[in-house]
């Protein structure tokens, strides 16, 4: 056995025994690369995810809703920061990760390339998008890589507030006027399928799943998680008195799960490739914010340097 093979088998034995991998431990290069890609994509999703919701902060229908939404969007920024810092423990620089987002080499969740055209969308995002995200994220709290798992524990605690505030928005609309009920149904019609796509391609078309599961980065397959999401959402939709836009949803006694229709993968890949309704706008907004903040970053650094020079001079005098 070569040295690398020995290290790899020791690494896999640790993973099999549920021993967490920490930043300075030996790990296969592919494990490191997979994690950097996944954690940074996850971080980018949190950051870009602020944009569709930020769209409604100034137009929230009441102060209560505005406070909730502001707190939620601030949480998304926080989640991005926990995740960037977890990615950095793998030996990448924050600035490089952000550059990859801006120049399009890094991806983020396609869901954020859809527009928020009504207030009900803020509710739908909380219920369906955060709901799907929670399905994905809860198992990541047990991910084999320690810093990622710890970041996800914090994220998941906070996501629960996000989903509940979203559902409450929809519940209020469901008890409102006819126009409000229509707004609710129309919004769910638009968000249901993109939320279903958040779990990624079907298992048969997801070539990296097996390796990620062996490394315990992933604990469930895409289709397993998607099924869980359908099963809970169908029941929750009843409380909102709405229909989900999938005529094939039907209880399957034999499987003990709800059956559901076929996802439009052409749409999915089209949005992934950059042709969704808001891909261009989202990245432009991020780049603009980053460029317009450059002087602030430079000024803060210059100030810090000046202050530390002044302090060291004072020390010399003393």
């Amino acid at each position: 056995m070569t040295n690398i093979q020995a290290l790899e088998s020791r690494f896999q034995a640790k993973v099999d025994d549920e021993v967490k991998i920490e930043p300075k431990d030996w790990m296969p290069e592919k494990y490191r690369k997979t994690l950097i890609r996944q954690i940074s994509q996850h971080a980018h999703s949190e950051i870009v995810g602020m944009l569709p919701e930020g769209n409604w902060i100034t137009r929230a229908p009441s102060l209560r809703r505005k406070l909730g939404l502001l707190a939620k969007v601030q949480d998304e920024a926080g989640h991005g920061l926990y995740l960037y810092s977890a990615a950095e423990t793998l030996g990448v620089e924050r600035a490089d990760l952000i550059e990859q987002l801006h120049n399009g080499t890094a991806k983020y969740s396609s869901i954020f390339n859809y527009p928020t055209t009504s207030w009900a969308d803020i509710g739908s995002i909380g219920w369906l998008v955060d709901g799907a995200a929670i399905m994905n994220q809860v198992p990541l709290c047990r991910c084999s890589y320690g810093p990622y798992a710890r970041a996800m524990v914090r994220v998941c605690k906070e996501e629960s507030f996000h989903q509940r505030q979203g559902f409450e928005i929809l519940l209020t609309l469901s008890k409102g006027t006819e126009a409000q009920k229509e707004m609710l149904q129309e919004s769910v019609n638009r968000w249901w399928w993109p939320a279903m796509m958040m779990f990624g391609p079907n298992d048969a078309d997801s070539p990296h799943t097996a390796q990620s599961m062996k490394w315990k980065i992933k604990r469930f397959t895409n289709d397993e998680l998607r099924q869980k999401f359908v099963d809970v959402s169908v029941e929750q939709a009843k409380i909102l008195n709405i229909t989900l836009p999938d005529p094939d949803i039907k209880w399957n006694e034999e499987r003990g799960h709800y059956d559901y229709g076929v996802i439009d993968w052409e749409e999915f890949w089209n949005v992934v490739k950059g042709n969704g309704p808001c891909n261009h706008e989202r990245i432009q907004t991020r780049v603009k914010a980053h460029e317009e903040g450059a002087w602030v970053r430079a000024a803060a650094m210059a100030h810090a340097e000046k202050r530390s020079q002044r302090n060291s001079k004072k020390e010399q005098v003393a």
């Binding site: 431990d25 920061l81 620089e93 803060a300 650094m301 810090a304 530390s308």
Partner: protein, 95 residues
Amino acid sequence: MKNQNWPLWEIFIRSKQGLNHKHVGSLHAADEKMAIENARDVYTRRSEGVSIWVVESKHITASDPSEGEALYEPANDKVYRHPTFYDLPDELKHM
């Protein structure tokens, strides 16, 4: 200026009086004052702390995991350092 990071800081939070500061993650900031302000916003949005320590990451020296055996193995055969090593009768109370 492009691609230049602010320094990285490790953040430690005391969750309540009587407990020790515990590492929670890291963040970037221009100086220690900003690091504390950012840590407040990033890591204590829900009253998770009453005290924050920030240490610039480059000042942390860590042990090498590959030297783990040499560092920790000597403790493994010193069972006599644990109270259960000592055989005492059951009727002995309050010990």
